[in-house]
Symmetry: C2
Subunit: 228 residues, 2 copies
DNA sequence: TAACGACCTAGCCAAATGGCTAGGTAACGG
DNA sequence: CCGTTACCTAGCCATTTGGCTAGGTCGTTA
């Protein structure tokens, strides 16, 4: 943990008057412009690049080595891609802090993002203008920033004793997607080239992980968790 | 229809060099700032007020009588409230054009908004910066503006022969919400103080309206339609 | 008044589901 | 080599479901 070094070094000296260099990643123009406006309102922040795709994020971080990456995990169809990206960046570019800025608030997503190395998680609908700057500064200083509602979720996740069991496997997710389309176990089995027993098996496991008891609830929870 | 008058009057004369006066309604600061930035980039647009709640929208429109209201229908917990608001405004303030700016794209929501009097429907993740200004101008001129993906949805809605049957009743929605929570028909019946038969009845009707055959699919579709 | 829509109830039956136990394989890392 | 994880299969049984037909009350609207 290199944030421990900080206590040895006076804060003001490390970056005298430096502006925080930021890359913004969001598929939404309005959000990108808004972020830029809000952040550059107080000097001290400079948005040096914008990205609208997973690849572009990687390129931008690689090229500019920003202090902070503000990213909406949902840059494409593949939700899991966002997580991988966070992991990759916090792995390969530890000097770049990752601040996730999400549309929705889902326990599973928050926890997963933090687990993969995100340094902060804010919710678009929740943040006030001044909190943005503070958040960016904070993650840059090595703190972990959680938005108001986000904190509760994380606490809840720690409280309930499910640590390892909550992640769905690929297969389970496949089955759930077909369930959501209204297929019966038999139909799903046919489509996946497995037996009906296997389908039931995956659904049972998914049920336990999601804390659901009926397929309708499974679909609902998976949707809420952004898995679908 | 007073847009017919337009053909009698040269466009340039009616509003010589006038700036378009806009009210922006969105609970999200970033979006509000972003919109303002993008729109006021070209002079000709002035954001004269912002609102973050349904009541505030009404106040702002009443006070300023803007040319265009740009609104995200999702300003609170109550989804239907947004629709009522659109209806009220297009009823009482016909000179104010309503341009809906939504996060998600759902056939039912688009159709409902337009039915209630919205003059345009754009999707945040879809619009490009220049399209915003054009869209605002267009609705102000009495045109109906639909974003790229939005048009297809509306076409689809017109094509499929379900006009009247697609709207869920309050009761049906109540049942669906409980189904999504994983309750059985019996449990739902108890909670709603009706018989199990009634619950099944509502679900059968909802199934037909949504084109679903299993409760898991009902939940999925209702979610996708933003009803949940 | 009659028609309509939303709401409520009942019963039937085949099919689907949920919840369980009890097996199996293959791949990976300690 | 052993433990773990993901994956696959089988069978049992009570309960739930989907889909149907056939009634009923209200309140609004034509």
């Amino acid at each position: 943990m290199d944030r421990d070094i900080r206590s040895d070094v006076p804060l003001g000296r490390r970056m005298p008057q430096a502006t925080t260099r930021i890359v913004v990643a969001d598929r939404n123009v309005i959000t990108r412009v808004g972020l830029r406006s809000i952040l550059e309102r107080n000097s001290g922040f400079a948005v040096i690049a914008e990205a609208t795709s997973y690849d572009a994020v990687l390129d931008a971080v690689d090229e500019h080595g920003p202090d902070v990456l503000i990213i909406d995990l949902d840059l494409g169809d593949d939700t899991t891609r966002g997580f991988k990206l966070v992991e990759e960046i916090s792995d390969r570019y530890p000097q770049t802090k990752v601040l996730v800025l999400a549309n929705t608030l889902s326990e599973m997503i928050v926890v997963e993002a933090l687990r993969r190395g995100a340094n902060g998680y804010l919710c678009k609908d929740e943040v006030k203008a001044d909190e943005l700057g503070k958040g960016v500064k904070a993650v840059q200083d090595g703190e972990t920033v959680l938005g108001k509602g986000v904190g509760k979720l994380v606490a809840h996740s720690l409280g309930s004793a499910r640590q390892a069991n909550e992640r769905l496997t690929d297969r389970e997710l496949d089955v759930i997607k077909l369930v959501a389309k209204g297929l019966s176990n038999k139909q799903i089995a046919t489509q996946m080239f497995v037996s009906e027993s296997t389908v039931k098996f995956h659904l049972q496991n998914a049920s336990k992980k999601l804390g659901a008891h009926r397929r309708a609830e499974i679909v609902h929870r998976a949707t809420g968790a952004g898995l679908l």
